[in-house]
């Protein structure tokens, strides 16, 4: 399978830093909380949290969301996907929640994440930050903060590699799918 690198380590670092600035620009740290969607959204949320601390000197709460149980294809897939823990140890009610994910594609993951979040409380505002927006939405859901827009064909795969979750150095590849 042929693949092309479209972001390297530096590009990802700059994109995360810019995302942090944009999130702060649109409302500061007051009431702000980050929630990463497993797996790579968690890594990105953690990097955003650190960047926000460096910029503002303030720690914002962050949580982890596993959306498996809220997937709309759960009854269609064969063997059940592995369920991992959701860890949100603060009250999200009246907070400004920024959901963080690596790739924004059909929007179905975010639909599931929104369903999951409302089971935890009623945030004042939910926004979405992603590293890569590759298009091909299947639901009327939009993104607030984008690291990089990458036009793709639907059969292609966009793969994000991050040091914390994938071991090797950070990069984003577009692979030719089938």
């Amino acid at each position: 399978m042929s693949s092309a690198q479209i972001m390297d380590q530096d590009a990802i670092r700059r994109a995360v830093l810019r995302l942090a600035h944009e999130i702060l620009e649109k409302g500061g740290v007051k009431g702000l909380a980050l929630i990463g969607i497993r797996t790579r959204g968690v890594v990105l949320a953690e990097r955003l949290r650190k960047a926000i601390k460096d910029i503002e000197g303030k720690d914002v709460p962050s949580g982890i969301l596993d959306i498996t149980l809220y997937r709309d294809d759960l009854t269609l897939v064969g063997a059940k996907p592995v369920v991992r823990e959701t860890l949100i140890d603060f009250d999200i009610t009246d907070k400004r929640i920024v959901l963080v994910d690596d790739v924004f594609f059909t929007g179905r993951t975010i639909r599931a994440a929104l369903d999951a979040l409302v089971d935890f409380g009623r945030p004042a505002l939910i926004q979405l930050a992603v590293l890569v927006d590759r298009g091909h939405r299947e639901l009327p859901i939009r993104v607030d903060f984008v690291g990089k827009n990458i036009p793709t064909a639907k059969f292609q795969n966009v793969r994000v590699f991050l040091a914390e979750s994938d071991g090797n150095s950070d990069h984003v590849d577009v692979e030719e799918g089938t």
Binding site: D66, T68, L69, Y70, L74, T75, V77, G78, A79, K80, V82, V83, R84, E85, T86, L87, D115, A116, D119, F120, G121
Partner: protein
Amino acid sequence: MTPWKHKHLLGLQDLSAQDIELVLDTARSFKEVSSRDIKKVPALRGKTVVMLFFEPSTRTRISFELAAKRLSADTLNIAASVSSTTKGETLLDTARNIEAMNVDLMVVRHGTSGAPFILAEGLKCSVVNAGDGCREHPTQALLDLFTLKEKFGRIKGLRVGIVGDILHSRVARSNIWGLTKLGAKVTVCGPATLMPRGIEAMGVEVCYDIRKLIKNSDALITLRLQKERQQDKFLPSLREYGRLFGINREKLAEGSGELIVMHPGPTNRGVELSAEVADGKQSVILDQVTNGVAVRMAVLYLVLGTKPETEG
């Protein structure tokens, strides 16, 4: 991680160590769901789970029912005492009629060892064993394993004593399968009349001295003395059993302060456990009950995930 391939859960005898680990890992994620304000996820929306109980049960049945409900499945309870079985219908006929109303999973408790196998062979839906005769009670053992793993961080190398009526205990059998598969060192202890001959072949040691067992264990799984199965004079008296094998504060003090005491319930206070031990710091009996819901959620989720063609 290897994916789950079993359509039914009939016993831990049929599961690999990886299968058991997968249930325990999945259960850890589900435990969090029960701690939320809104204790419900839509994972099994539209599925119907039937509880078919031919023996009395409160804990197990309620635990399964809560597990199914927290996964958004619909549940139905059938107690044998009020069902058509009292009119002479066979087990399989009863089950087939229920299945004809399009249910997805049956949780079965039956007094005959192997009864769930008859259902698994004769039905198209999934079957989960909630205790069959003296054979297995897989979800109880899974929640015991989960509790042990939660308390000690591991199962491998743990010294676990199982105390009581080993002969009639499906909880003991399931736990022996599960614990030995995950590498624990298991010792069974109880009156010689209630010790099955050749139990060593299951990979366990036998000990008749409760004090010695307490000194050499990290955890004790105490079993309920099943009064309903004691008509055949296995024991001179309950009092004697309590004196020789019951665990009280004085006996427990001879072991490590880290030793934990487990019991599948219902407890005969003053027989297997004294009240001060059952309610004491080393008792994890109520943690077991809490964990039971998470473990059963994991089992329902995994079993209902397999397609019909992945039989096993």
